[in-house]
């Protein structure tokens, strides 16, 4: 099939970018979007042009490295699917596909389609961890966790940290990301003692770089890990709980 890609090209964070169009021929409907970019880059390099920079790693939807905005939609046309698992079969033969980086003030463009998502790591640094040193843990079988609780924790822990939720939000909010981590950890028994300080610390770090929740729920429509909207309700609950019960609980 033949596609025209209209792609955002930007040399670095410091300079302005622009769209450029490229024709890609000989791609198949079974190609993933990123395989199409691989082929396009091969074509660009062999004709003396500069390839399009984009982040990707595992190519199976688990690492969270990839993420481009496709026709205005973070990750691409298929909902809840990362860019590496979007396929060309979603696009009519001969169509034009617009590719941009994830769009958010909190994600400065590094180059072309690659952005800086380190703000998400700074939210984790705010308290998204368990303060427990190697070797000091108690026997994991000594504290039973119900099957359903473990499964629920995993539903939230499934976040791959791609940042699509932030890119989808008109406010550039990281509430879904932060809420998922708070819910994941507060469901597990070994992490309960830090619950209050964790909620305080993570929300404070989040508010420094990201916008407030827009209440639109666009984040859950793009999330490749299927994090449920209850993560945001959970975030509000954890915040309130920290206020009522104090940081140390």
């Amino acid at each position: 099939m033949k596609l025209t890609f209209k792609i955002w090209r930007q040399e670095s964070t410091a300079v302005h970018g622009r769209f450029e169009s490229y024709d890609l021929e000989g791609a198949g409907a079974e190609f993933t979007l990123l395989e199409a970019l691989d082929k396009l880059n091969d074509q660009l390099v062999s004709t003396g042009k500069e390839p399009v920079a984009f982040d990707s790693d595992c190519r199976e939807g688990i690492c969270g490295s990839c993420g481009v905005t496709v026709d205005g939609q973070p990750h691409g046309p298929v909902a809840n699917t990362p860019s590496c698992r979007q396929h060309l079969r979603s696009f009519p033969d001969g169509s034009t596909v617009v590719l941009e980086p994830f769009r958010s003030g909190a994600f400065p463009v590094v180059k072309d389609l690659a952005v800086d998502r380190s703000g998400l790591d700074r939210i984790i640094e705010g308290g998204g961890y368990v303060s427990l040193a190697a070797g000091t843990a108690a026997d994991a079988d000594a504290h039973p966790v119900s099957h359903d609780t473990a499964e629920a924790a995993l539903d939230f822990a499934a976040c791959i940290g791609c940042g699509a939720c932030v890119a989808a939000c008109p406010n550039g909010s990281a509430n879904l990301f932060t809420g998922a981590k708070l819910m994941h950890l507060s469901l597990l028994p070994t992490t309960a003692v830090e619950r209050g300080s964790r909620a305080d610390g993570m929300v404070e770090a989040m508010d420094e770089e990201f916008g407030p929740c827009s209440v639109f729920g666009e984040c859950v429509q793009v999330c490749p890990a299927g994090i449920p909207l209850t993560a945001i309700a959970g975030l509000n609950k954890e915040k309130l709980r920290a206020v009522l019960r104090g940081r140390g609980k």
Partner: protein, 662 residues
Amino acid sequence: MTISSTATTTDAPLTLDDLRTLGEPIAGGQPTGDPAEAWADRKLHYKLVSPLNRRKFTVIVVGTGLAGAACAAALGEQGYNVHSFTFHDSPRRAHSVAAQGGINAARARQVDNDSLARFVKDTVKGGDFRAREADCWRLAEESVRVIDHLDAIGAPFAREYGGQLATRSFGGVQVSRTYYTRGQTGQQLQTAASQALLRQVAAGTVTLHTRSEMLDLIVKDGVASGIVVRDLISGEIWSQTGHAVVLATGGYGNAFFKSTLAKNSNVSAAFRAHRRGALFASPSFLQFHPTALPLGSDWQSKTILMSESLRNDGRIWVPVAPGDPRAANDIPEAERDYYLERRYPAFGNLAPRDVASRAARDEIEAGRGVGPLQNSVYLDFRDPLARIGRTVIEERYGNLFEMYADATGESPFEVPMRIAPGAHFAMGGLWSDYDLMTSIPGLFVGGEAGWAYHGANRLGANSLLSANVDGWFTLPASIPNYLAPLLGTPALPADDMAVIRTVAETEGAVQALAASPGTQGPDRFHRRLGEILYARCGVSRSAAGLSEGIRLIRELRADFQRDLRVAGTAAGFNQELERAGRVADFIDLGELMCLDALDRDESCGAHFRVEHQLADGEAARDDDNWAFVSAWERRPDGRYRRHAEPLTFESVRPQTRNYKTS
């Protein structure tokens, strides 16, 4: 003739003596006596650094996957001054996330007769007696508290309805010792480890450098003293010195281009340490995973892994008749060959990976392969779906089925999956002694970048285990032992000649690469290398094929040097430049893999030489001549010298691996 300078295109067949010389034996330094007591004995004798002195030591940890993040976090927790490096944009990304099925631990809580000794037996036997036995004992012993630790720091392990940790079985094992979180165990452990690392970043003990790639090792008077790094965003090349350097930089299966690995996984950090003198162990021991997705098109970027855990319930088969044109569901039971169950009744579909991969290759080569390109076999869930129902299957494998359906457009609930062997895990890696120190003092290695546990074939769910044990428990004990006598010695100053010279050499090499004047990008050469390696150094190997492989790789290197084009400049973000440097190392590694495979004149584990097979087609190991690990020394002129570390077995008697009856 040299191994790796410019290529020769002479038609004269290569002989081993042209290619390598033999060096002295080397020793692993494990405690003598009962290997079951080795780790306790060694820890008792390790020197310690008192808490107040720890911040005086700088430790550099390269890589933030499971082994690297864990090691950096654990050393930071102890109070050392740690610098942690990753080429990713975040420490949560590492390829460790892709491990799906689980992590083994010999906790032996069930009554299925598991024990530390049985774990060691399974691991040593699974590795076809080419691992260091004492290291396997350490792995078994530490596996118990690894689960406790990971559970406590936030990995939501699957639980039984009574609240206890759930387990399942993996290949090459007849007990249930694999702990898991659905099909995303690696991701959950990596998330927990990266959180622990970020906790230390917040505490100020660890300085994290993201998008920073190690390009060289600084060696001063034979001792590892720092690294040279390229800031991938600004392009700046700078150095970090320290008292010890840890490489936890993962495996090299991407030499095959199409593999189960993440696209950015590479051998460069390890290989550049190798160029600086670190011995490289068993480079040809590369595992082909039997349950990878088959290739569909030229531009398919990888052979996505389908977890081995699927073999707990899925049944592998091919049609009895070669070229059977019918759809899988139309082939009656009597015309299906469940060949693993037939050939290996005791282990059935859970035969070890090397055995399962070779059996699949046998069927495909005999014309019984399935799918449009006849390059795969079926993995069928029809029977378990009928037996235990869709809900249970979904809970066990839901995300794997989804991933498969997404990649192929077929639902495993409706039709059998199609799978094929794909390049996967590197059992080989930088040689290290029992303390995980390489042949360069001060340079340590952890996780898949090292070599010691898996011999010639890794058992499923032992990779997450070895990365975690190295990172959380072994390196944080063995590195202080190395540091303790250095108290009072400052790290190498940044203006030392060794630092300035190594930085200048790196800058020169990067500039030269960036100025490559050819016409083809690095991926073109990488794809060619992968094709050569799959054909010559793949699931089965022959002397003639390997010699030809070396010749072809030399031709490839010459083409690379002549016709490489690196778009853009060395200043700033340049992924082509990153790839070009990695491909150059893969080419040299590829030649070394062929050399190692040619040199090792036996079959063992994943290394199958067609000249050495038993009457029934199984691998013929040669313990009289090859009961050692090959550790390759790269001479300054690029020629190779092979050293040998003899392997002895005290607790597991070497035997022919038998998965048919026991």
